[in-house]
Symmetry: C2
Subunit: 421 residues, 2 copies
């Protein structure tokens, strides 16, 4: 395809998505839930087609020498497909935020103003190789009345095509408007740029993937982009902390699932308890196989597993069993370190002092600031949102876990009886 | 200045604004209000300096042959400066949204989650020639705990420098952190691009000005941009409407202040009342000096002042006493016309039928959808927000009138007693 063919194909999808968005506004919650269950049924009904498509992706992946980890992320089987379909059904069971009255008031001139939740419109999802993003993103966006344009990675293109076709076909049988869920059917790289330029038809882009992908979208997009950047998450241990609680929370935050954005990456210890707490936590982390990188003062206290930290360690999201550790002289120094080196994602203080905890929570500029809890709780599921499309590191529109409510906008409905200015 | 000098000067301002933002978080509402009143006092105390600076701008404007309208927008005098200072004092009197608890809940594991309003951080304001934007934007952003970097047009540079210096000096005497209000002191065009690229230090850019300025920022910005685009606003008159009310609302929406974004630009009349209502409204608008551009069916009914409309008229924001008028066969056709040709700003239906009004309000995809009221009520002051920084045509973060609350973000504070996953 020439670049101009790609551009006109993308523009045409955009135009059709906008029409779908206007049609989606008219669906009731019950109609949407029926459609979601029909989508889930169709995913199961098309198991053999979907797994056959997936086999093509896997074959290509092996031929292209993709890593085992990549191939595993790509792989679908009966069990994984059943989980994917179940996740779509689960979205049907969640409460619908659309139509919710956020607030209302009456003006002295008698005008009654209501602020109500509405769909955003058309959402572009640009993602890498996990095929389940196709169904997760499409079902969450659909539940909130949005049309989606999906652009998946080339590695999963056959799986994605089969999954998107099942969603649209199953949905349409139950009343889904045409073009509500569109997958870009080709994998030319320039399709990302054409999507990112098309702000007349796409209201929001959510890139799901690594820093390179997000960076590419941010640098070209004309519409808002909600970013899910790194989590360089901290725990600060104040001198009055319950040290056993501190050790448990640190071990959990670092080790329970080290490869995710809400895992702990840097531990800050108040200097007054360094000599008592460092040996305890050093032993605990060494036993769990964690490599420590610490400032010179802590090194002799942490045991043999610890190495000296460099400046780069304070900004590094390891995503593995490595932890940087530093002493600080005060809660103020801890806050300053976190605001300077952190990624404004998730940070936690361990202390018995409510005043110090309040200061830390107030002054640390992060999406989620914990007190006496694991950083791993910054998660849509753990917050009770039922589902999440990601954890935003942005400050505009959505910050922290993004559930269904964060996939909506609002509008004002104003009722009068002839008011003029 | 070389481009690299400009870039490093802007980066340095960004770094200092970020430090100021961290300091601003620590101010109480009372401290902020005291600072705002000190800023207002200093504006009055520096009247002779500010008017002398303004005289330089006016002199340059005349030499450069700016239009009288432009020169009038630029001009300050004692009375206008007093109004500017009063507006800053008025912001002190508004309630502070920062710290407000938006919601809170407790999870089954005992974690208590609070969602609270916080400042956004650093806001960039890029504006054209009105010097009062300097003080309006800076005071609203400061009230909400944000640091600002202001970039005004070259026409008003001397006035802007004097106003920004008064804000910072007056504020600092009352405890304003250094660098909270920074004006870019030079007018090289590339400063806009350097600001727009600096997403590590600027969290949000709000361009205040014409389409060209907004377009330039949108096409280069890496951070979110809140746009205040055109208002192609509609009124639809349903057959059961109170026709006298309809005529009053139409005349008010079109004529009361035609040069603003919430003024009426297109009137849609149901075909069943065209022959009765068109002569009434045609006479009323002709008396008010409004030029009408209408579809062929309406032309003979509207009187001599009416001209044939072209396709272009349906998307035009006239901002003067011109109105496009069209018949439609149904409320559905009115909704489809508005969603296709409008700018999603403000639209109003005139009807006695609550069901039809609800359908119109539900399906028209605009920031504010009125029923039996003038489009001119889409305004922060008329909504009771006390002040507004503009009327957003975006759907993310802020839609419609933007008051103080829309200049805030939020974060989650999570309190536990040792919870781990």
């Amino acid at each position: 395809m020439t670049d101009s063919d790609i551009q006109s194909a993308i523009l045409d999808m955009g135009r059709r998505a906008r029409a779908a968005a206007h049609a989606l506004v008219k669906l009731t919650s019950d109609q949407k839930n029926t459609i979601l269950r029909a989508m889930a049924d169709e995913l199961l009904a098309r198991e053999s087609e979907i797994l056959a498509a997936n086999a093509l992706d896997l074959e290509r992946a092996e031929k292209n020498g993709l890593s085992n980890a990549m191939i595993d992320r790509l792989r679908l089987d009966s069990k994984r497909l059943a989980a994917i379909a179940q996740a779509v059904s689960d979205v049907a069971a969640l409460p619908d935020p659309v139509g919710e009255k956020l607030t209302d008031w009456t003006r002295p001139n008698g005008l009654h103003i209501r602020k109500v939740r509405v769909p955003i419109g058309v959402i572009g999802i640009i993602f890498e190789s996990r095929p389940n993003v196709t169904t997760d993103a499409a079902s969450l966006c659909f539940k909130t009345g949005n049309a989606t344009i999906l652009r998946g990675g080339s590695e999963a293109i056959d799986s994605n095509r089969a999954l998107a076709a099942a969603l649209q076909a199953g949905g349409e049988r139950a009343g889904l408007p045409a073009d509500s869920v569109q997958l870009i059917p080709f994998t030319d790289r320039s399709s990302v740029e054409h999507m990112a330029q098309m702000d007349q038809f796409i209201d929001l882009i959510i890139p799901r993937g690594g820093r390179g992908l997000i960076e590419k979208v941010v640098s070209t997009a004309r519409m808002p982009v909600i970013k899910h950047y790194d989590g360089v998450c901290h725990i600060y241990v104040h001198p009055d902390a319950d040290l056993e609680m501190a050790a448990n929370i640190i071990a959990n935050s670092k080790c329970q699932k080290p490869g995710v954005c809400n895992a702990l990456e840097t531990l800050l210890i108040h200097q007054d308890i360094a000599s008592t707490f460092a040996p305890i936590i050093g032993q605990r982390l060494a036993d769990a196989g964690v490599q420590m990188r610490a400032d010179p003062r802590l090194l002799p206290l942490l045991g043999d597993a610890a190495l000296p930290a460099t400046e780069e360690d304070w900004t590094t999201e390891y995503l593995e069993l490595i932890l940087s550790i530093k002493t600080v002289a005060s809660v103020e120094e801890a806050i300053a370190h976190i605001n300077r080196y952190g990624s404004h994602h998730t940070d936690s203080i361990i202390t018995r002092d409510e005043t110090v905890a309040a200061q830390f929570q107030h002054e640390v500029d992060s999406a989620v600031v914990m007190h006496n809890a694991s950083t791993r709780f910054n998660d849509g599921g753990e917050f009770g949102f039922g589902a999440e499309i990601g954890i935003s590191t942005d400050k505009l529109h959505a910050r922290g876990p993004m559930g269904l409510a964060e996939l909506t906008s609002y509008k004002y409905l104003v009722d009068g009886n002839g008011q003029v200015r």
